[in-house]
Amino acid sequence: MVSVESPPVERATAPAPRVKLLKTKVSRRTAWILRVASVAVPFALWWAVSGSGVVPDRFLPAPPQVWAAFTDMVASGDLQNDLLASLGRIGAGFGLAVLVSVPLGFLMGTVGWAQPLFEPIIGILRYLPASAFIPLLIIWLGIGETSKIALLVLGVVFFNTLMTADVVRQVPRRLLDVSATLGAGRARVAARVVFPHSLPGILDALRVNAAVAYNLVVVAELIAATSGLGYRITRAQRFLQTDKIFAILIVIGLIGLTIDVTLRLVRARVGRWSV
């Protein structure tokens, strides 16, 4: 209650502390400085430790050695061949997995019978670690390309199906109702409403699973291959060439980053409306 006699409310001189938890703003400049530091600090640390002589060269090569190993591999053409081999496998395996999982997930999210039919079996299969299938795949398909592509498909297809189905189910009921009142039949609702509404989410799922595919291909090549980045690592291990291993790991990281950034850009372009 406010009355005339009430004592004057004391004015706070200092501004009240603002709650800053979820989205504390950082200026663009600071953000860029932090981004550079995020990479530069570990790199500097690596250089410092390797240069100090505390750790033997054989375990931790210095950046210049790694650079030399890198230019050697480029000069001999090995790196390019291995990179192409790995990327070719990802393209085939991941591409195949996408071709299967996106339509299947779309079906599960939209058609009544598809969900109870596929969900249980996929739910079980996705918990089996794909890399545990490598021995079986080698027995079945040999150590050629087929077994590696099959591994990628196994590793990606189940997760991506379920993630796609989840995204598709998120289309608001109201939007479907409205579309029906506008005269759209099932096929048109699927193509013109459900698909565009789900596309950004589907791309998000693809981005997550592209990383899975990328990891898996290297693992597969570590175990049985005659080409590829993973294969090049096992070769280097045999001759204790840690500098080569480092160089390949860095290449793997940078290529992965490129894939991720590309997919992110595509996603941002397609999903402009959903931010």
Partner: protein
């Protein structure tokens, strides 16, 4: 004989009807508003007309033909505009026209005409996310009108808008009704709005939903100032009492 309910009942779960034995005739070109307590089945009634749900008993006929599902002869807009966020304003309005039977040119002309009617011509190329709530609702109404429906169904279309925008929209929807001559059936929880816009106000009773009162409202004037006239306030109070009585009965039934 335009829109006709013939002893329509609707129960989502068997044994507990939401609407029971509704008989109703709505003539072509009428502006009907429906008020009633929350849960009395107003939205259900509209979705029956839209064909989004099917009555458990009875039938709804539009110009003598039984409603069997959604169709472009009945346009609908909800409280949330539910626009396609990836489509521009013009593309949203065009959605219902993207079937065979509309040439590209015919579609373009129709969309331009509709955007002009709802006053959004200069926003045609924008995405819905960048519009205000009132503008979004105009788009949603224009979209519902695209195929020249015989009936326009509105479920609390202005329920989420601030008072000033809401009043603009009331004048807007009346103008649209005048220009197009379609039948409008509008659900609202705002009695003032119902009496201001409706030439006929239906008050729904709850448990189960029935038409408790069917009031004809003589036009008392054009502008918003009518809302302050004595006659208007009297009608409004009468309807409010009816709604309140139904609400109390509903609460009593719920406690019994």
């Amino acid at each position: 004989m335009s829109l006709r309910f013939e002893s329509v009942s609707m129960a989502y779960t068997p044994g507990t009807p939401v609407l029971e034995d509704i008989d109703l005739d709505i003539a072509p070109g009428e502006f009907v508003t429906i008020v009633g307590a929350s849960g009395s089945g107003k939205s259900t009634l509209l979705s029956l007309v839209a064909g989004l749900t099917k009555p458990t008993k009875g039938r709804i006929a539009l110009d003598g033909r039984t409603v069997g599902g959604p169709g472009p002869d009945r346009g609908m807009a909800f409280q949330s505009p539910s626009l396609y966020p990836w489509r521009t304003v013009a593309q949203n309005v065009a959605f219902g026209l993207e079937t065979r039977g509309f040439s590209r040119q015919a579609r373009k002309e129709r969309v331009a005409w509709l955007l002009d009617e709802v006053g959004l011509t200069e926003h045609a190329g924008k995405l819905p996310g960048s519009l205000s709530g009132g503008q979004q609702q105009r788009v949603s109404i224009a979209r519902a009108l695209a195929r020249s429906p015989k009936v326009l169904l509105l479920d609390e279309p202005f329920g989420a808008l601030d008072v000033q925008t809401k009043e603009d929209m009331q004048l807007f929807i009346r103008q649209v009704w005048r220009d197009l001559g379609t039948t409008v059936v509008m659900v609202t929880h705002d009695v003032e709005e119902a009496v201001f816009l409706g030439r006929r106000v239906l008050v729904l009773a709850s448990d189960p939903g029935r038409v408790a009162r069917d009031l004809r409202v003589e036009p008392l004037g054009e502008g918003l100032e009518v809302k302050r006239s004595a006659e208007f306030l009297a009608v409004r109070a009468q309807v409010e009492d009816l709604v309140r009585r139904e609400h109390r009965a509903h609460l009593a039934a719920a406690h019994a």
